[in-house]
Symmetry: C2
Subunit: 230 residues, 2 copies
C-alpha cells in the first residue's frame, strides 16, 4: 500500500513549504519509498486528528499514523530495514539526532528573514491563523519582525561557519553521499527558497553549493518544486 503524507501547502496546492515535511520527502526518496502527498493547510487540524497532534508532517502507513519528523524518520528506518539506510547504523542514528536539533535551530534562525513572505503564500483560510499565531510568538507584527532583515543578514551568515567548515571537508554531512542528517539541515533552506525570494546565502557559499547538490538529488525532487528560487 502506498504511503501517504500530509504536507503543508500554500494557496497553490503544489507550493509545499514545511521545513519538517521536506526532510521527510527526501528521506522517503532516499529509501525509495513512493508516497502520495496530501496538500494540507495550517487550519486543517481535524484532517490529521488521528495522529494525536496538530502538526505536519504526518505519515500514514496502512492503519498507522505517525507524526513528528524525527519519529517518522526512525519509523521508516525500522519498518523498511532493507531500503537504503538513513543513518548508517546504530551509532549513526544516535549521532544524527543532533542534526535534527541543529535543523530546528536553523528554522528559528531563518524565520526572521522569511516570516512576512510566508504570509504572502499561505492559503486564504490560513492567513489570520498564521499572522495571529506567529505575531503572538514573536511579539511584534510580521512587518516589524522582518523590517531589519538586511541588517541581520551578516550575523546569520556568520552563524553558518561550522556548516561551512564541514562542507569544505566533505560533500555531505553524511560523507560522500547524503544521509538523513543532510535532509534535516536542508529542510529549512528548502522552506526558505520555496516561500521567499530573499537571498539568504551568497552564491559562492559552500552551504549554498551543498544545497544545490541536494536540489539535484532524486532527479531534482526538491529543485523541481515550485519555489521563489534564489
Amino acid at each position: 500500500m502506498t504511503l501517504r503524507m500530509y504536507d503543508l501547502a500554500g494557496a497553490a496546492p503544489d507550493r509545499r513549504f514545511s521545513p519538517y515535511c521536506w526532510r521527510i520527502r527526501l528521506a522517503l526518496a532516499h529509501k525509495k519509498l513512493p508516497v502520495e502527498t496530501i496538500p494540507w493547510r495550517f487550519t486543517e487540524k481535524a484532517e490529521i486528528a488521528a495522529s494525536g497532534q496538530t502538526l505536519v508532517p504526518v505519515l500514514v502507513d496502512g492503519d498507522r499514523w505517525i507524526a513528528d519528523s524525527w519519529t517518522i524518520a526512525n519509523y521508516l528506518e525500522d519498518a523498511y530495514p532493507n531500503a537504503p539506510s538513513l543513518f548508517g547504523g546504530a551509532a549513526g542514528r544516535s549521532l544524527t539526532r543532533h542534526y535534527s536539533s541543529l535543523a530546528d535551530g536553523l528554522v528559528s534562525a531563518i524565520f526572521p528573514f522569511v516570516a512576512l513572505d510566508i504570509l504572502h503564500h499561505v492559503a486564504d483560510k490560513d492567513r489570520d491563523y498564521f499572522r495571529t499565531s506567529r505575531e503572538k510568538r514573536v511579539g511584534v507584527t510580521l512587518e516589524a519582525f522582518v523590517a531589519d532583515r538586511e541588517a541581520k543578514l551578516p550575523a546569520f551568515r556568520a552563524s553558518l561557519a561550522p556548516l561551512r567548515l564541514t562542507l569544505k571537508a566533505q560533500p555531505f554531512f553524511g560523507g560522500d553521499g547524503p544521509l538523513y542528517a543532510d535532509y534535516a539541515l536542508f529542510g529549512p533552506l528548502q522552506w526558505a527558497r520555496c516561500i521567499s525570494p530573499f537571498a539568504l546565502l551568497a552564491d559562492d557559499d559552500p552551504v549554498k553549493l551543498w544545497r544545490g547538490r541536494l536540489l539535484d538529488c532524486f532527479d531534482g525532487l526538491a529543485r523541481n518544486a515550485p519555489a521563489c528560487d534564489v
Copy 2:
C-alpha cells in the same frame, strides 16, 4: 611502545588546558590506549617541529608524528581498529566530522569569556606571546575583550539551545555512551573549567549535566585534572 602526546600546559605543568588536546586525551582513554603526556608551552614550537606544524595536540606513535585533532582521531581509529570505536562505523565517522566543526565554533564562542583568565595561568615565557597573538586576533586588549562578559552570557547560553535539545533526548551525542562527537564538544568546556572560574553554564543546564557525565568517564580523568572548577 607507549604513545606520547604533546599537551598544552600552564605555568603549573599539570594544568592542561587545550580544548583540542582534551578531545584527544578522552579519545585515547576511549580506545584504552595508554599515553605519556608531555607538558608543552605555546612558545616551544621547536619541540614539535617534526610534526610539520606549530600547534598541539601532537601525537607520537613510534616514529610517526601526527598533528591536528581530527587527523589524530582518524589515525587512532585506523591504527587501532580492534579498540573501541570512536565513530561507530563509516557513516558515524562522516557524521562526526561536523561535531568537530561545531566544537571549533564553541571554542570561538567561549573565548570572549575566558581570554583574560588564560593569561593568568600561562607559563611566564608564554605570557607575551599569548597576549600579543590574541590581542592581534581580537583587535583589543584582553582586558577590554572580556569586560562585558556578563552581558554576553545570556546570548552565549541561548546559542547552546540545539545542544540542550539533543541532550534532553539522549544522554550523549553518541547515544547511551559517549563517542568522539562527545569528546570534541566537551573539549571547549573542559578548557574553560581548567582555566577560568567563570560560570558559563547554569547548574541545571542539560549541557552542564552532560559535561558532568563526561567528567566522570574513565575514572574521572577530566574531573581529576587541575581546574578552576565551576
